[in-house]
Structure formats: C-alpha cells, structure tokens
C-alpha cells in the first residue's frame, strides 16, 4: 500500500490516510475533495463548521434559495421512516438578497467553496436567481434544484418533464458566469431519468446532481391522517440508496462524459465508493448529517482509506470503474 498521512478526525481521534489524490474535476472546476454536503441538510454551513472544518470539504452545497423570503410549510415537517426520513420543509429561507449579503458572504470569508442551490416556481425566477449570482466571486458552481412545482403549469414538477427541465437549465446556463458550472439536480420520480438527463445536458447543463428525494407519504396511525403538514414529503436516507446508485449507473452509462454528483443515503465511505464506482465524480452527504454532524468529513476519510486499500492512486481512476468490461480485472 501507499504512504500514509496521519490526520485528526473531527472526533479527535488520529487516523492514517493513504496517499490518494482525492481531487476531482467537475466540468472545469477542480475540488480538492469529492465529498460535499447535500442541499437542505447543512443550512449555509455555519452550524456544521462547529463540528469540523467546512473548508476541508469539496464544497458546501447550500439550502436551495429562492428569490423571495419563504416561511415554508406547516409542521410537522418530518417523519422518521425505516432507514430514512420524510421531509416537507417547503424551502424555508431568507430569499436571495439576504442569502447573498449574509450567508454567502460568511461562507466566502470563511474560505469555503460554495455550490449554490437555486429553486424557483417559474423558469423566469431561476433566471433572475442566476443573474443575481452572476457577479459573485463566492460561487464555485450552481446546482439547479428543478424538483420544484412549476406554478405556471398546474404545479407540475419541472424535473418530471424534459421540456420544462431544459427551459430552466438553459435559462440558468445563459445567465450564469461562464466559468461557473451549472449542475441540474434530477428527481428519481420519473419513468426515464436518462431522458431528463439528456434534455438537461442538451440545454447546457455542465453536469448532473442526483438524486433528489422520492415522493412519499406517511400516515399517522393515531391521528389517522397524513403525518406531514404538507401531506406528501421527500424520502431520503440510506433507504433510497439503491435507487440513487441505479440513477447514477444509468446516466453514467448513457452519458459517460458528463460529470455527475451522486447522493442519496450516503452514510459511510463505502456508500460513497458505490456512487463513485457507478460513475459519480463527487458525492453529497445529506440526511446522514442529522445522524452524525461530522459525517461529511468521516465519509471523506473512509473513502480515502478504501481507495488506498484498493490501490487507487487517485479518486479519478475509480470514477465509473464498475462499468469496465467483464474481462477487465480489478
């Protein structure tokens, strides 16, 4: 095996990391580490910075921001489910202005790389969000959360329709700074995720993030009504991991040159490794943060150890490795 470096984990124990090049290229941007937080599971970075150094992550992916301040949905906003959870936050947030002047600024001063997740109710809202971010030096990349209902089309979710998805992506790409990659974040709740992926790439997406949550319902057996204030919610956590890995597998198979950020139920480095082998160039850790606030760093260390143990000199060599021909050994 390769050379080892000793590091101190967030929980103050010393571990040895093999010498693996963990940097990853995402559509023209190079990140020193492939592990990031997932949108909506890390706020704007400040709270997690108490548990580990957020600048060590590939990037902080911020909670999806909208144009206007938003109060979100009524409570209860969550239900625990087997190996997962259902949430219905309703994109509560301060709106883009306060986000830029307070949260994004804090992240920049802190020295963190930032992927800003944006969300809108119409294609135009996405465009205006992109315009507002265009001149910010703090933005490493944009993740377009298209799992939002289109208020102009009977509330149909953009990500469920290739045309709606591409309209949004095209608008964001056109209005974003050229050096800032635009990632479209896909929903798994579709018959053919590859078709949506292709539509987004054709519309100018530099990469794809997947997956967002699965639509679910939990009924409370005491009140005998849906548990969530918003009735339906998004299912996340390890429960959905096989669905997420499948999405990454299929899309990488169809579009091997498009960078993919994989997420959905990553709890350990081995889970992250699954996504990398399936074709993801980077991963996001979401729900697991609620279980273990230092999980993103832990996952990154565990992934590095796994890569070293399997004699990978660099993360890049493992990306999509599970797709190699049958006769090619490990």
């Amino acid at each position: 095996m390769t050379r080892l470096t000793r590091v101190i984990t967030p929980e103050s124990s010393e571990i040895a990391l093999p010498d693996v090049d963990m940097s990853t290229r995402l559509a023209g941007v190079t990140l020193p580490n492939p592990v990031m937080t997932a949108s909506g599971c890390a706020g704007y970075g400040r709270e997690l910075d108490q548990f580990f150094d957020i600048t060590a992550l590939g990037a902080v992916v911020t909670k999806s921001i909208m144009l206007q301040p938003r109060s979100g949905r009524p409570t209860p906003r969550m239900a625990e489910t087997p190996s997962g959870m259902l949430n219905s936050i309703g994109l509560q947030g301060p709106g883009i202005e306060e986000f830029v002047s307070r949260d994004l600024r804090w992240l920049e001063e802190r020295g963190a790389r930032v992927i800003v997740s944006i969300a809108g109710g119409s294609a135009d809202e996405y465009v205006r969000l992109a315009q507002r971010l265009r001149h910010s030096s703090a933005v490493t990349a944009i993740e377009v959360n298209i799992s939002c209902p289109n208020v102009e089309d009977r509330g149909l979710v953009f990500a469920c329709d290739p045309v709606a998805s591409s309209t949004v992506v095209e608008g964001v790409r056109r209005n974003s700074a050229p050096g800032v990659p635009v990632f479209a974040k896909l929903s798994p709740d579709v018959t053919d995720i590859v078709a949506i992926a292709k539509a987004c790439v054709d519309a100018g997406a530099d990469g794809l993030s997947m997956i967002n949550t699965l639509l679910g319902v939990v009924i409370d057996s005491d009140t005998m009504r849906p548990h969530l204030g918003g009735v339906t919610g998004g299912l996340s956590g390890p429960a959905i991991r096989p669905v997420a890995v499948r999405a990454v597998w299929q899309v990488h198979q169809a579009l091997p040159d498009v960078p993919v950020i994989g997420m959905g139920g990553i709890r350990t480095g081995a889970d992250a490794f699954e996504f990398i082998l399936a074709g993801a160039s980077a991963v996001e850790v979401g729900t697991t943060v609620f279980n273990d606030p230092s999980a993103p760093m832990r996952v990154s260390y565990e992934l590095q150890q796994l890569l070293g143990a399997r004699d990978f000199a660099s993360l890049g060599d493992a990306v999509g490795f599970a797709h190699r021909p049958d006769d090619e050994p490990a």
Binding site: P10, E11, G40, C41, A42, G43, E47, L48, Q50, F51, K63, S64, Q68, P69, R70, S71, G72, R73, P74, T75, P76, R77, M78, E80, P82, S83, G84, M85, N87, S88, I89, G90, L91, Q92, G93, G95, A119, G121, N145, S147, C148, P149, V151, G155, V157, T213, G229, G233, G234, G237, P238, T287, T288, V289, F290, N291, D292, P293, S294
Partner: protein, 286 residues
C-alpha cells in the same frame, strides 16, 4: 458555547418512577451545559434503521474528575428510539451531541420565581432552581403529570424550594387536575416575577397565558420534533414574534428550546400564520 460530538460511556441507567435516568460520561459537553440546554443522542446503533437523534433536556451534570464530566438525562419510553435507549447498559457507548439550544435566561436581580414542570419536563428545572437560589431568588415548584409514576423529582423539588404543589390528572398524588389549576393562586400568593416552564406544548401555552395575565415574565422550553437538533434541517420551527414585531418560523433547536412565553404564537403552532415573514407558501418543493 460550542456543541461537541462525543462517544460517551454509559456510567449507569436506572428506573425512576416510570422514567429512566441515564448517566453518560460526556467530557466537553458536561462542562458547557447551562440549565435548559439539551443533548441529542443517536439511537439504534451505527447501522440501525433510526437515523434521527433524539433530544433530551439535561437533568444535571457532574464533574467526576478522572472520568470527565457526566450528563444525566431522564426519559420516558415512548417509541422505538427511547425503547432502544432504555436497553443500553453500563459501559455501552452512546453518541451524544451537545450542549444544544438556548438555555433559560437568568434574572440579574433576586426575584421570585415559579418553576412549572410537566412530567419529565421538570428535569431541567432543578439545576435552574439551584442557580436561582444562589442568586437569592425565591423558588416555588408546581409539578404535574397524568399520574403519580409520571411525576419526576418531587422530593428533590422539596429540598430546594419554598413550596411544591403537585397535580395529577387522576389524583393519584397531590391535587387532582392540571398545573394551571393551581398556578394562578400560587403566582398571586408569591407575587412571582418569572415563571419557568417545561413540559408538553399544551401545558406551556396555558402557563404562558396564566403568567401573562398575572403580569409575570415566562420562559418556556418547548418540545418540537427535531431531525438534526443543530440548526441545519428546518424541521423544528414554530411561529415566534421577534423584537421587531414580525412573526417568523423560528428553529426551536437553535433559537429555543427556551422562548419567552409571550413571544410564541401558541395557538398557531402547527400552522404558518398568514402574517408570517415569507408566508403564504405557494405550493413548493421540499
């Protein structure tokens, strides 16, 4: 205060009435705790099906020298998570994050204080009472529960207070009824300046109301379902009026769990009032 995450050894677990009292070695947490802080404990094991931490008020902390500080919590067996926790044994390891939240505000003057605890909700009130007494405050207790076995700390309250009133809904101990049946009389009798309360939401709403009517300041520790406990998920919100008079959906894990009773819109909990900052919600994503 900076919350930390520690794998703490279980020093002891024992039954107290219908509750369990758990003592965990949690260096770094214990030293920072102030009354009203809570901890979030991972349940179900590292590969278990329950991902969300469970929140528990800190009952007390102790400096144990060689061991490092310990944290005590008192909990009811409720669902799968607390059932799991009730099965931990001495020397097992439990993953604790804390201290979390905003503690009770302490008065600068030696004022008269009433503590109202519902069920295990009394747990954080004892160290609070001790600190108030150190500041020369008068402290009275009202402890209520559905039934005797669900009261916690009656004797302890007696040791550290001027008076203790007990109510149970079935009359098995103390007065039959609810804390708010005896609270107005007590507040009038003692002329209490501040009411500190912890317990179920319904009780808090009623206590805040009584306090307001009788001109007392109230500090209520709320209990909203929390996915993260550390401020990153936005599940634990409730409508609270800010200094500027504007209602916001505020995170109870970060901006609470202790709120001024007159600031929480108790009747609107579980809704987003129309005048909330950022309301109304057009149907949106998650």
């Amino acid at each position: 205060m900076t919350p930390v995450q520690v794998r703490g050894e279980v020093l002891s677990i024992r039954r107290v009435g219908q509750y369990h009292q758990l003592t965990i070695v949690a260096p770094g947490v214990a030293e920072q705790v102030r009354p009203g802080h809570f901890v979030a404990i991972a349940v179900g094991g590292e590969t278990g099906a329950q991902l969300l931490r469970r929140a528990f008020s800190v009952y007390r902390t102790q400096d144990r020298g060689v061991y490092g500080g310990t944290v005590d919590i008192v909990f009811a067996e409720h669902g799968a998570g607390t059932r799991w926790l009730s099965h931990v044994r001495q020397h097992d390891t439990v993953d604790v994050v804390g201290p979390l939240g905003k503690p009770f505000a302490l008065p600068k003057e030696p004022v008269t204080c009433t503590m109202v605890g519902g069920g295990y909700g009394s747990a954080p009130l004892f160290t609070l009472a001790e600190q108030l007494r150190e500041r020369g405050c008068r402290v009275d207790f009202v402890l209520g529960a559905a039934t005797e076995g669900r009261l916690f700390g009656v004797l302890e309250a007696k040791r550290m207070s001027q008076s203790v009133a007990v109510t149970t809904e079935d009359g098995s101990l103390g007065d039959k009824g609810r804390v708010t049946d005896v609270l107005p009389g007590l507040l009038e009798r003692t002329g209490a300046d501040v009411v500190y309360a912890c317990g179920p939401m319904g009780m808090l709403a009623a206590v805040a109301d009584v306090a307001a009517r009788l001109g007392a300041h109230s500090q209520c520790a709320v209990e909203e379902a929390m996915a993260c406990g550390i401020g990153v998920c936005m599940t634990c919100v409730l409508p609270v009026v800010g200094d500027d008079g504007v209602t916001r959906m505020v995170r109870s894990c970060i901006d609470g769990p202790v709120f001024r009773g007159d600031r929480v819109r108790w009747n609107d909990v579980g809704t987003v009032p129309a005048d909330t900052w950022g309301a109304p919600v057009s149907e949106g994503g998650h």
